[in-house]
């Protein structure tokens, strides 16, 4: 059935099939379920930060980019389905879910002002997998025994159930520490 070797295939079909294969394997729909189901990033040992207990005061960070894209600056340490693709936004959970009160913190550089911001990756919980816009950026991810930095952990904790649906990325403030 095969008459030619791989180098002879038509450019467009090879391109398409490579794109297909790549997206199927890593970014396609199936890839977005559970390659790593959840998200995480910075922070110390237990007890981890209880985001819900923290006040909201400062003006938001200046913004650019698409919150429905994995490349969006706040997602430098995200690992999960983007709430922005699931009926929520990058700062709010989809209807029918609850935002986790326990969270993990990343530090991402905002391209607009060049500053580093602390980002809280809260999971949206209590529903099924959203299944859209899976993003996994493993920079500075740590093992599960360093839970505050482990993005392999299901952080649906402090919610009525641990069922994971999607993830938001909240700006907590400018990271003024140690830079």
């Amino acid at each position: 059935m095969a008459q030619r070797n791989g180098g002879d295939v038509d450019g467009w079909l090879e391109t398409a099939s490579r794109r297909l294969a790549r997206t199927t394997s890593r970014r396609g729909f199936l890839g977005r379920i559970g390659a790593a189901l959840f998200g995480a990033a910075a922070l110390p040992l237990l007890p981890v930060a209880r985001a819900a207990a923290q006040p909201s005061r400062a003006p938001s960070a200046p913004e650019s980019g698409d919150p429905a894209s994995c490349d969006y600056w706040r997602y430098c340490a995200v690992d999960g389905f983007l709430s922005a693709c699931c009926g929520g936004t990058h700062t709010s959970c989809p209807p029918g879910t609850q935002m986790s009160t326990v969270t993990w913190i990343g530090t991402c550089r905002n391209p607009v002002d060049g500053k580093d911001y602390l980002i809280s990756y809260n999971d949206c919980c209590g529903s099924t997998y959203c299944g859209r816009c899976f993003c996994n950026r493993n920079e500075d991810d740590r093992p599960v025994y360093q839970p505050g930095k482990a993005n392999d952990i299901n952080w649906c904790m402090g919610t009525p159930t641990t069922a994971y649906s999607s993830t938001v990325a909240l700006v907590l403030g400018v990271a003024t520490d140690g830079k």
Binding site: A51, S60, A61, S127, T128, G131, D177
Partner: protein, 406 residues
């Protein structure tokens, strides 16, 4: 893009240093704990999209392709019902205490339609039936007071729930008949194996007021009607395996059967109506949409490559809409190829069109036609009047099932 680790490492060096975060967090810019809500009334182009493996019904806006939210279901059929005032969503659910084993609980859950949060549940007998199309598994009485759930274990019955009082109102046997369709303020209709229908009327408390078998209105042996009808006001339209339309008028005290007519003219021999959800109806214009195929066997289930549009008043076919193939749509999605371009055109030509399994039509003045395939899971959106392909809704699920207007 990211500045690496100086901050977290320093913190880590200070064991149990969570408190150290608070001064930083006090500058928080985004509010914590925010959860979106939906508008008080569904949008004109909304659609529920069921998924067997993700065990959910998702709300999609066909006009924008946006995914608006989802409600999780249990084992089996996931088919949300909306209260007439739009405020609540009722969902028949089955759960096992240990996932696939243990005690079984069947219930009708009540969700707030704005928050999608569960607000109540009513337990019903653990007898709910399960079938693939997910059509006819439950229904809400036209006055919005009673939900009926079709049981099959294999004896058939209806579980009646008073959704206003959050109360199980009782079980009504429907021997020889199955499934359930709304048929009046306090009335439901089931189909029976002998070609009749069973009309169940409820009293004020949801108990059986009357249960009447109609005359035979189709030949159950020679040409049975498919169990996936559509409704326009007081009339249900059933289509038989051979493409004969059987109108059933439920507007009056007695159920009446209208004159039958054919979807497939002699000149169209070889075409049949088929698929898991093969009819849709735009009530304002009286247009009936039928999913058509040319399968040689099992045509009543085979996916369709075209949608034929009929004027119910004149019984004339007014349009044929050729559907794009699901395989090409799936490949285009995975490869992020936009519809309408050259690559998309090539994909549509290069890949076989295995047909779509389900259709639905919105009820507004600029109606959309949805066509879906379970595997690969694709959801295409067409202009229901012109037949023009508008978009494919990307990443819509893993194993699509019921399409349902909200």
């Amino acid at each position: 893009m990211r500045k690496a680790g100086a901050f977290p490492r320093r913190l880590l060096a200070t064991a149990l240093a969570a408190a150290a975060l608070l001064p930083l967090a006090s500058r928080a810019a985004d509010s914590l704990g925010q959860v979106e809500t939906l508008p008080a009334q569904p949008g004109p182009h909304w659609l529920w999209v069921g998924d067997i493996l993700l065990r959910r019904a998702a709300i999609v806006d066909g006009g924008t392709g946006a995914f608006l939210g989802q409600i999780p279901g249990g084992v089996g059929i996931i088919a949300p019902l909306r209260s007439p005032d739009g405020r609540e969503i009722y969902l028949a659910e089955t759960h096992y205490a240990r996932g696939t084993r243990g005690a079984r609980t069947d219930l009708v859950s009540v969700r707030d339609a704005v928050t999608l949060q569960p607000v109540a549940e009513v337990e019903i007998p653990p007898k709910r039936g399960e079938h693939t199309s997910w059509v006819g598994g439950s229904a809400l009485s036209d006055d919005g007071r009673f939900a009926a759930v079709a049981n099959m274990n294999p004896a058939t019955s209806l579980s009646i729930v008073d959704v206003a009082e959050r109360r199980f109102a009782g079980e009504i046997d429907t021997p020889g008949c199955a499934l359930v369709y709304a048929a009046g303020p306090r009335r439901f209709l089931s189909l029976c194996g002998d070609g009749t229908a069973l009309v169940v009327t409820l009293d004020e408390r949801g108990a059986e007021a009357s249960k009447v078998r109609t005359a035979r209105f189709f030949d159950a042996q020679a040409d049975p009607v498919m169990d996936k009808p559509v409704r326009r006001g007081g009339e249900w339209l059933f289509v038989s395996f051979a493409g004969v339309v059987h109108p059933v008028d439920v507007s009056g005290d007695a159920v009446r059967f209208g004159e039958t007519w054919r979807l497939v003219a002699d000149a169209d021999a070889g075409w049949r109506t088929g698929g898991m959800q093969n009819l849709a109806l735009h009530a304002p214009s009286g247009r009936l949409y039928a999913l058509m195929n040319q399968a040689e066997q099992g045509a009543h289930k085979a996916p369709g490559t075209e949608v034929w549009v009929f004027d119910v008043a004149t019984r004339e076919r007014v349009q044929r809409i050729a559907l794009r193939g699901p395989a090409a749509a799936f490949v285009a999605e995975q490869a992020k190829i936009e519809p309408g371009g050259a690559l998309d055109w090539l994909l549509q030509r290069a890949l076989p069109n295995d047909g779509m399994e389900r259709i639905a039509v919105t009820q507004d003045d600029a109606p959309l036609l949805f066509a879906a395939s379970g595997f690969p899971s694709t959801l295409a959106v067409y202009d229901a009047r012109s037949g023009a392909h508008l978009r494919d809704v990307r990443e819509i699920g893993i194993a699509l099932s019921l399409l349902q207007l909200p």
